[in-house]
């Protein structure tokens, strides 16, 4: 893209072509007021405050694209009048309850009212009765709403749920005489404002994935979290910048912390906030914050026991909900004590990535979520995007909405949310084990100069016949028009498949022979860090020490093991996230017990005072305290550092399973996945997300087999069986049911092998 030069208020700014004036001004530290504009989303044009004069013509800065040599003035006499009138209009009938409003001063309406010096009111209209609406995790107070439509915009352009829309307000029309006396834009803005309110697209209740992003973007106190409502003023809360610990995206979050009560001075997290202009949260990140391990104490005897357990153990079993520093300590313990490190999920991912690396010649996958956001053709294979990695879904959606893009979603479980993203998304629900066929299709369709030795092995005629018929081809042709930036997201279904090697090879070939940049979603929070730090073993013999996993001696951050360790909101450390970025995480709540470092200090030769003393021994020699964790005004992510992608010696693909028929699963299949808002036992510990899991079935399934919500069912696979209740999930379609992993009382994993799909018998009890 070409560079353009724009002069804003006498300051020369250099920007990319197609950039809006508002974004250029913000990146260059020039102030233009705006209430309704949201970074990375389409302009709403509701507030009209960003009115500026470009080359003598009045335009809206959020909407106007920069042209070379443009001369922009941010304020003229007329514009100042408009802005003042607009703020007066916003204040008409706005309840004077700032004292109890949850925005508690962090209010854009208040700021701009004071900035425009609105000391008197010239306009009036009869108010209407608007009761508060309770939408589950979210509450909406229409009386406070200024209808900036940011919530509608973010729900559509960023999240993709499109659960909110503007609805008619009712009430009196504007007094026509205002048209003569009011500035033009202020009148037009009021006219629009006076006709609408925010409502749900699905009747009276809000039916969405409960990300709560609408509450984050709301400039006033109209949309607030139900749990947080009236529990604290914003200024009392201490904001602690950190990283969300629930999935591999590692979003930047602020834990907001205050004392528990008048008599109890211990700290408590009241809410989690984010910077909605730069980062988006899912519901698990926003509501699943209080998973801390409270009440742990330093008891020398228990420390001694833990040291003994490690010394006599042969294996450490752990998972990837762990910081890089802890992983490094485990690796050091392995070296010192000759232990084995077992983490099946990370092991699978490591193997998968290494095969990919050998084929593609890159040590890490080429893309990240930013490249997905910037692309205009996105394909997802092998991931239940909505629940596996909500932010990858947001990126997928954002690319389609903002870049006039299109996408294809390959997954065995039909997802109505994906269908709802856009008309330009094709969802193909193939059978389990056909993921490789989808990937081969991508390679054939988009590959350039593929050697014949490889293309000869890419036979997908069966798959094509089944799913990619003529309709698909004509639609695809339409979707592919004017597309030049391609992204592929592959997910956790693939890593444990029996033919994972072939799959990884095809993914590598796609990276090599097509224009796709590839994102291989790490299957757990810090999988990408763990596989680079730890030498993992396939299996290990007893006695086993479990680190947040069950073992003969269990270290547990949930407080239910033999030895307490801090949860991820109680310690400093780093993660490697999906963007290959090493991001810091900070202490939100104090922890009174011993950490892994204390135990390791008793064993290792070079004791370290703090866990984060290991940070500089990681990928780059950077101290923990010098890791930034912020976003710049230009939107640039200034968090931690990015890992380099090294060149790896290339090898030729083997396709050693190519001739074998892929295993076929019969009709009754269950899937190992979590419902919306859940990732693991930690999210389920949070008081807002606490629920008990079961067998999640689609409404169709419920109807077809007569299994009702709450009814007990027995699920049997060749590895075992369990009894649980059925839960109807209206966010899936079709006959595949799923079992979750977040509930510690429901050991679903024992029914599965490494692959996330398995044939099962489901019967009513």
């Amino acid at each position: 893209m070409a560079e353009v030069r724009v002069t804003i208020d006498g300051k020369e700014c250099i920007a990319q072509e197609g950039e809006t004036l508002l974004n250029i001004a913000r990146a260059n530290g020039i102030y233009i007021p705006a209430i309704c504009y949201l970074n990375r989303c389409s302009p709403t044009l509701a507030c009209r405050l960003c009115l500026v004069e470009a080359d003598g013509k009045q335009v809206y800065a959020c909407n106007a694209k920069a042209k070379d040599g443009m001369n922009v003035v941010t304020t003229t006499e007329n514009i100042a009048k408009e802005r003042r009138a607009i703020m007066e209009v916003y204040d008409v009938n706005h309840p004077l309850e700032c004292g109890i409003c949850d925005q508690s001063g962090e209010c854009e309406l208040q700021n701009y009212t004071l900035l425009e010096n609105v000391t008197e009111q010239h306009y009036a209209i009869r108010d209407t009765y608007k009761p508060v609406k309770n939408w589950g995790h979210i509450q909406y107070d229409p009386a406070l709403c200024i209808v900036c439509e940011k919530c509608v915009t973010v729900c559509k352009d960023m999240i993709g749920d499109t659960a909110l829309k503007t609805v008619p307000r009712g009430g009196d029309p504007l007094d026509k005489s205002y048209k003569e006396v009011m500035p033009k834009d202020a009148y037009a803005m009021w006219n629009k404002l006076n006709k609408s309110l925010i409502g749900t697209t699905t009747g009276e209740t809000l039916d969405c994935t409960s990300c709560g992003e609408c509450t984050a973007v709301c400039p006033v106190g109209a949309l607030v979290g139900t749990d947080f409502k009236w529990s604290s003023n914003a200024w009392e809360l201490q904001k602690i910048p950190s990283t969300c610990a629930h999935c591999s995206v590692g979003c930047q979050i602020y834990y907001e912390v205050k004392h528990i009560s008048i008599e109890n001075n211990d700290k408590k997290i009241y809410r989690v906030t984010n910077e909605p202009h730069f980062a988006t949260l899912c519901g698990a990140g926003r509501y699943g914050y209080d998973f801390e391990n409270r009440g742990a104490k330093k008891e020398p005897k228990s420390l001694e026991k833990a040291v003994q357990a490690l010394k006599s153990a042969k294996t450490i079993v752990f998972n990837s909900q762990i910081t890089n520093e802890e992983a490094l300590i485990l690796q050091k313990l392995k070296e010192k004590l000759g232990l084995k490190l077992v983490n099946p999920e990370a092991y699978q991912y490591k193997e998968f990535l290494s095969v990919y690396s050998k084929i593609s010649g890159k040590s890490l996958y080429s893309g990240d979520l930013n490249t997905v956001r910037k692309s205009n053709f996105v394909i997802s294979v092998g991931s239940a995007l909505k629940t596996d990695s909500p932010n990858s879904r947001y990126a997928f959606n954002n690319a389609i909405k903002m870049n006039k893009g299109a996408g294809i979603y390959f997954h065995p479980v039909k997802d109505p949310i994906i269908d709802g993203l856009s008309k330009n998304v094709i969802q193909i629900n193939h059978q389990p084990y056909e993921e490789i066929e989808a990937l081969k299709w991508i390679l054939i369709q988009f590959g350039k100069d593929i050697p014949e030795t490889i293309s000869a092995k890419l036979d997908i005629s069966q798959f094509q016949e089944k799913y990619l018929g003529e309709d698909f081809q004509t639609k695809l042709e339409k979707l592919l028009k004017k597309k030049d930036k391609f992204s592929l997201i592959v997910g956790a279904d693939l890593y444990g498949a029996k033919n994972w090697q072939d799959i990884a090879e095809v993914v590598g070939l796609i990276d090599l022979y097509t224009d796709f940049s590839v994102v291989i979603i790490p299957s757990d929070t810090n999988t990408l860090g763990v596989i680079q730090i730890c030498e993992l073993d396939r299996s290990g013999e007893a006695p086993r020490v479990g680190y947040n996993e069950k073992g003969d001696f269990t270290f547990s951050a949930l407080g239910d093991g033999d030895f307490d360790i801090p949860a991820l909101n109680q310690q400093e450390g780093t993660f490697v996230n999906i963007d290959k970025r090493v991001v810091p995480l900070n202490v939100a709540l104090p922890y009174g017990g011993y950490t892994l470092n204390d135990v390791a200090n008793e064993i290792l030769d070079n004791p370290k005072q703090w866990t984060i003393d290991y940070t500089s021994e990681l990928f780059k020699k950077v101290d923990f305290d010098s890791l930034p964790n912020e976003f710049l005004n230009s939107g640039e992510e200034n968090r931690g550092y990015i890992l380099d992608i090294d060149e790896v010696e290339r090898e030729e693909p083997t396709f050693h399973l190519a001739n074998n028929e892929p295993p076929k699963l019969g009709s009754s299949v269950i899937y190992l996945a979590n419902p919306v808002l859940q990732f693991n036992r930690f999210t389920n510990k949070a008081h807002q997300l606490s629920e008990s899991g079961g067998l999640y079935i689609s409404p169709e399934y419920s109807e077809k087999f007569g299994i009702k919500e709450g009814q007990l069912v027995r699920i049997a696979t060749k590895y075992g069986s369990l009894k649980t209740k059925a839960i109807v999930d209206n966010k899936i379609v079709g006959e595949i049911c799923y079992l979750p992993t977040f509930d510690k009382h429901l050991n679903a994993r024992k029914l599965f092998d490494s692959y996330r799909f398995i044939q099962a018998k489901i019967s009513k009890v």
């Binding site: 004292g99 109890i100 508690s104 000391t119 008197e120 009111q121 010239h122 306009y123 009036a124 209209i125 009869r126 508060v132 009196d172 007094d175 409502k229 009236w230 529990s231 604290s232 003023n233 200024w235 009392e236 004392h259 009560s261 008048i262």
Partner: protein, 198 residues
Amino acid sequence: MNKEVIKGSQNYIPVEIEDYPTTGWQKFKQVVRRSLGKELFVGLWVVLREMLKFNIHTVQYPEEVLPLPSRYRAVHKLLRLLESGNERCIGCGLCEKICIADCIRMETKEENGRKVVSEYSINLGRCIFCGYCAEVCPELAIVHGSRYENASEQRAHFVLKDDMLTPIDFLKEQKEFDGFGAVSPNADKLIKKTPLAY
């Protein structure tokens, strides 16, 4: 003492004060005069005279208590609305924020669609009685009362919500606060009225 004429509009009464003795001889003379002259007995006589007349000015505390000015800042009170008896405090938290001794804490929650203050406390061990809380309160809910007798087994006996809040049966005896932060007598004149559509 130099005897200047004191200027100004007030009616100052110049008092005759003799100069301080500087030399040893002058000091000696002053002592002799004061101890052997009548000066000592003047005071004793005044006391005796007033005692005989039963003209006693001492306030008979604790039976008798002096009236306090409305701006006196003693132990806090939480007031109620006179008409409905509802608590005035809306839980905005401004007192908590402005308190420079950091001694106010409150707990708020949602109840029947309203923000309610479930707990409120002032740590009198730290309170410096500056009056900021009463001044900042937009509802005249937290005010300074006139109770300055702070003797009890525990400090906490004064400053939990129940101690400060006007008991509902004593609502009629609640007096409007007119100390710092109270509405000024000319408040109505200072208000610009908003146009109303009905």
